[in-house]
Amino acid sequence: MSELVQLLVAGVTVGIIYATIAVGYATIYSATGVISFTLGAQAMVSGYLFYVVLAPWPPLPSAVASVALGAITSLALWIVVFEPIFRREGAMPTVIASFAVSVVMQETVRILASADVRAAPSPFGESILRIRGVAITAHTLGTIAMAGILLAAVGLAFRSRRALLVKAIFQDRMMAQALGVKDSMIINLIFLVSGAATAVAGVLLAPLSSLTPFTGVYIALVGFVGATLGGITGVAASALGAILLGVVQSLFAGYVSASYTNALVFGVLAVVLILKPSGLLTTHERARV
């Protein structure tokens, strides 16, 4: 019993971090229809900022700085790289460009900071809470609190009336413009938010996994699988899907096989995309013609 709970706790901790990235995907997708694979690399860069570059600083200012830089990077990438390609060529070349940008970030970090695995001590300390044989680390509690607050904030923002503007832009950008929606400003804002969420995820994930320049690709893919599992068109659905993925991954690693977890994650992705492309938790499919 306590083993099950332990695995569930681990799964939720990882899952809620995946969820912050999944929300990044969902917000960007729901406004533009683009999947930005740079998110994983952005998370990796934020991890390096927090644990390597700004390591001498106390945790709070360093966290604020990493998240702010993450948000600004995200916006700058959209304005400088993605937006011109997206405007002229549409979504697919933008996705290819996002792969390229992710390689650029990975290689830049590798050249500047070497490919060595870096230690990432948790900013919440190393203390462990034991409840009936279940060990809960301070990092777990901190992660769930931070990511939970972030997810709740984004979720609430997307339930507001104003969030309907995002849907309007997605469905018919020209019509939205004609009705006076400031589309480019809203999309800029969305990139800021997703960049900040991704940075938080990067900082929280590093103590649980390893911090190397090459983690970006995996983070990007896992976040995407989580988002698709729930349904990438909805913010709440994608977050729930990502948490579900974390839990399933943890249970699978604990009870079945730890070496087949990749196969599980991507097998799940393939099955979901083939059988129900709109995601498990969404009720209707949206067609774009």
Binding site: I35, V81, E107, V217, F224
Partner: protein, 350 residues
């Protein structure tokens, strides 16, 4: 029309001359250089397979690594168990690649665009995991040692170079022939709009499965050749990195510019592989990724697209003088020169 035919014939003669020169290449190169040439030729073959599915088919597939890996493992496992000749193993690998490609397409029939890319990518991760863990079949993370023979003798780098060159020639011939026949036109329409394709009676599903199967044949042969070339097949054959590297080459050259790939790919691969210069090798991935971004921003059709645009511009200028008409090459498709309107861009799915 007569003009056009002479132009094409001249082009074809030029290709034949180039291939003849490429066949003579190993006799002037050192042993190490021949190996490099073989490795480049194998990667060009893989790039052509991606071009088949992405450029001409219009499907954004990240599954080239899957088929490549299946080709490599087919040659490795079958060669290990049976000791067959490489000339038997390669066709078997090709059949395996066709089946794998077709199977991949069949599962992806309902998914579109980005989701197709993700499903194919997912397959490469699943197979990589299986190859790592199913030790009894694949040798696990250590991989399988490949000792290919051809006519009883161990395969040399030179032989692999020739085999790859022949495969490139055949692939190129097929691509150029298909481009302007029924299948090519069906692909062109389906690429622009799948609905439109279905409306005029094209079986778009079958077209997709066939395109993936054809691309699978080429990629699996590349994988099989790579297995004999490198001598050791391990789960990294399925790596996403290989797919990304191939994608880089194809995007920089232009997705529908096979000749530009033939020129660009060797340059890019040569710089990447000639690791004589340590400092340069360190920066290559960064530079290539930046190059992809620049190409996508400045010339989305790749370098081949620039070449095509320049040729058109030149012919347009030469048309103005009467004798300039001599050099005009008519576009085979009447629709191709129409300006892109906003409506058409949206129909393209942008």
């Amino acid at each position: 029309m007569a003009m056009e035919r002479t132009g094409t014939a001249r082009g074809h003669r030029l290709i034949l001359v180039i291939f003849a020169l490429l066949l003579l290449l190993p006799s002037v190169l050192s042993l190490g250089e021949v190996y490099l040439a073989a490795s480049i030729a194998i990667n060009v073959l893989l790039a052509l397979s991606l071009m088949t599915v992405m450029g001409y088919g219009g499907y954004f597939s990240l599954g080239q690594g899957v088929v490549f890996g299946i080709g490599a493992y087919t040659v490795a496992i079958l060669g290990d168990r049976t000791g067959w000749d490489l000339l038997i193993l390669l066709p078997v690998a090709a059949v395996g690649g066709a089946i794998a490609g077709a199977a991949m397409a069949v599962t992806c029939l309902r998914t579109t665009h980005l989701y197709l890319a993700m499903v194919t990518l997912a397959y490469s991760f699943v197979l990589g995991d299986v190859a790592t863990n199913w030790t009894s079949l694949s040798g696990g993370g250590q991989g399988i040692i490949v000792l290919s023979t051809l006519g009883g003798a161990p395969v040399a780098g030179k032989t692999l170079y020739f085999l790859a060159l022949v495969a490139i020639g055949v692939t190129l011939g097929v691509l150029l022939t298909v481009r302007h026949n029924r299948i090519g036109r069906a692909q062109g329409l389906t690429r622009a709009s799948e609905v439109a394709g279905r409306c005029v009676g094209i079986n778009t599903n079958r077209l997709m499965v066939n395109t993936f199967a054809a691309s699978g044949v080429v990629a699996a042969i590349a994988g099989g050749l790579y297995a004999s070339f490198i001598g050791l097949v391990d789960p990294s054959s399925f790596d996403f990195d290989r797919t990304v590297a191939t994608l880089t080459i194809v995007v920089i050259a232009g997705v529908r510019s096979p000749f530009t790939v033939m020129v660009i790919a060797p340059v890019l691969l040569y710089l990447q592989n000639s690791s004589g210069n340590e400092a340069l090798a360190n920066w290559i991935p960064l530079v290539y990724a930046c190059l992809v971004i620049v190409v996508l921003r400045v010339a989305p059709q790749g370098i081949g697209g620039i070449r095509l645009r320049l040729t058109r511009q030149l012919t347009a200028w030469s048309v103005r003088s009467p004798e300039g008409m001599q050099g005009v090459r008519h576009d085979r498709s009447p629709c191709r020169n129409r300006p892109e309107t906003k409506l058409r861009r949206r129909a393209r799915g942008a």
